[in-house]
């Protein structure tokens, strides 16, 4: 078991889930409540990573984050370091790759919050922010947990994007899934099996948590 890769993957997963919680909530709020007529374009862009092969996403990211892309050049000019083949680049790639897995459950759970409750809150004098934190968020807990858990689990299991953007640098970009691939290449089936089993168990526990929490009574509120 490559513990360095394990901890790196865990760190990546937690960071991705955390950033997506902060980034995904306003984005999901906007998608749910905006009346902008072109919002379906944004929805399509957010959903792209679901259907796109990870290598395609990874390829474009590599171009953009690399010395030929504008963001990559700017980062290099600012920090003197390259984003490609770094943990930072890996983080950006993973965030984009898992974006729909956070935003879609968030938006879906916002969508089912009765609009009349939001009107009631506003009539009672609550600001949009207060309505969001006191009404929308508490009634969307199951969607929040689902989004965070799925983006975390999805990050643990990613392979193509990591390989394209991060490569395989121990302690920097080598994640568990890369490690498994490496071990199989080296015919170390016992080692690959051990790591794969850990990943399987973690993923299973996470999904159990998600489905278990979704059975809470406010997820399927019988009375409105």
């Amino acid at each position: 078991m490559d513990w360095q890769a394990f901890w790196l993957t865990l760190r990546l997963g937690v960071l991705v889930a955390g950033v997506l919680l902060l980034l995904g909530l306003p984005l999901a709020y906007w998608i749910t409540y905006t009346r902008w007529r072109w919002k379906f374009l944004i929805e399509a862009v957010v959903a792209l990573p679901i259907v796109l092969p990870p290598t395609v996403l990874g390829f474009y990211l590599l171009i953009i984050l690399g010395p030929r892309g504008l963001p990559g050049r700017m980062w290099q000019a600012l920090t003197g370091r390259s984003l490609a083949f770094s943990f930072g680049g890996l983080l950006i790639g993973s965030i984009l790759y898992s974006l729909p897995f956070a935003v879609q459950p968030f938006a879906a759970s916002f969508e089912v919050v009765d609009r009349r409750l939001l009107s009631a809150s506003a009539v009672l004098g609550a600001s949009r922010l207060r309505t969001f934190f006191r009404i929308i968020l508490p009634l969307s807990i199951s969607g929040l947990v689902t989004g965070v858990a799925l983006s975390f689990a999805h990050t643990l299991g990613e392979f193509g994007v990591v390989l394209m953007v991060g490569g395989n640098i121990p302690g920097v970009t080598r994640t568990v899934s890369i490690d498994i691939y490496d071990k199989v290449q080296a015919l170390d089936y016992a080692g690959a099996n051990q790591t794969a089993l850990v990943l399987l168990v973690i993923s299973f526990l996470l999904l159990t948590l998600v489905y278990g929490l979704n059975r809470r009574r406010w997820a399927a509120w019988p009375w409105r």
Partner: protein, 372 residues
């Protein structure tokens, strides 16, 4: 494009609500024109569904924006298109009880009621309201754990907690049985004795109009077609909605079952009982409405014999109450019918809730109306 134009003035002499607005709806050709004034106390907006009642309330509350016009409440300008004022919903301080109540399901009764109170004395103020609406014992329960009537009380208390400039009630007591309803109305009246707010009360229940009404405004297809006390409005039944309001305490859906040309009558199915009605041009299977005035129904304490009337139904007297000088009885004979009788009749028949009674309805007391 339909437009909404209305002018409403509500409130005491020093606290008015004035609404004079226009609103277009993208698809339906719908025009709402309303103009009226009201003082503190109940003002009833009466009309069929789709008449524009809820739109009026939403515009006052700031949930819906008019295209043009003016709304003024308690000397505060809510909306004025000419000076480009549109006070956000949050700042209007309007008490609004929604038709579906819209209680926050994840909060306790206490948290629901104090939600709109920002003051430091929120706990104390909400407790006073909880007590005056008899729900203090439910403070720590959630809306899903209490009865329908209790939820309605919570919604009222929550709306009153903000010390609103005006109170908007959208069929707040729909679906409640009669004793629960009158209990809540009584508590609301008591509360308003102290506070003297203008209360705009939307309903399509004729019973509520008479139970509450100092003042009734009848809306039909976006226009005010009558305005006055319930008795004034009733006296001149010029329109369909008013005719319904004035005429019939009992209105039911009916289906023609058979025609009896030789007798000049028809048999109509109403719920699970059959009425003999006058013959009109309608084939069996036609859906009609049948209206029966509560004062046209006779009541007997044993099965009558040797009568000309064809409609004789046995049932149970479920409620009996006094309104002015008449007794209002609700009789369940497979169908709930409202019957009016004199105080003397009640005494001589020794009627009380639970009594077994017989109802007699003359064929020509059944008025048939086309469904619209």
């Amino acid at each position: 494009m339909g437009r909404v134009a209305m002018e409403i003035v509500i409130g005491q002499s020093q606290t008015h609500l004035l609404v004079d607005i226009q609103k277009s709806f993208g698809h339906a050709a719908f025009q709402l024109i309303a103009s009226f004034t009201a003082s503190a106390g109940f003002t009833i907006l009466f009309g069929a569904s789709g008449a524009g009642k809820s739109t009026v309330l939403d515009c006052i509350a700031g949930i819906a924006d008019p295209d043009a016009g003016r709304i003024l409440a308690a000397e505060t300008l809510f909306f004025d298109s000419s000076s480009r004022v549109n006070l956000p919903c949050q700042l209007r301080r309007v008490g609004y009880v929604f038709q579906d109540l819209a209680l926050f399901p994840h909060m306790t009764v206490q948290a629901n009621v104090s939600y709109g109170i920002s003051a430091a004395d929120a706990a104390q103020r909400s407790h006073v309201l909880l007590s005056s609406f008899r729900i203090a014992h439910l403070a720590s329960r959630k809306p899903g754990e209490i009865s329908g009537g209790e939820r309605q009380r919570v919604a009222l208390a929550r709306a009153l907690a903000t010390d609103p400039r005006v109170l908007l009630l959208d069929e707040p007591l729909a679906g409640l049985d009669f004793p629960t309803r009158s209990g809540i109305i009584e508590d609301l009246r008591n509360w308003n004795l102290q506070h003297q707010k203008a209360i705009l009360y939307v309903t399509h229940s004729r019973d509520e109009v008479f139970a509450l009404g100092e003042r009734v405004i009848v809306l039909e297809q976006g226009s005010v077609i009558a305005d006055g006390t319930p008795h004034q409005v009733m006296a001149a039944p010029s329109q369909e909605t008013v005719a319904q309001l004035a005429g019939f305490e009992n209105i039911f859906d009916a289906t023609v079952v058979a025609r009896h040309e030789e007798r000049g009558t028809m048999t109509c199915q109403v719920g699970n009982i059959q009425f003999e009605t006058p013959l009109v041009r309608a084939e069996p299977g036609t859906k009609l409405r049948v209206g029966i005035r509560a004062g046209d129904i006779l009541i007997a304490n044993r099965r009558p014999e040797g009568l000309s009337a064809q409609n004789i139904f046995g049932g149970t007297l479920t409620h009996l109450r006094q309104r002015d000088v008449i007794m209002v009885a609700i009789v369940n004979c497979g169908l709930e019918l409202e019957v009016h009788l004199t105080l003397a009749a009640r005494n001589s028949l020794a009627l009380r809730a639970g009594s077994e009674v017989w109802l007699i309805v003359k064929t020509h007391s059944c008025h048939l109306m086309r469904t619209s």
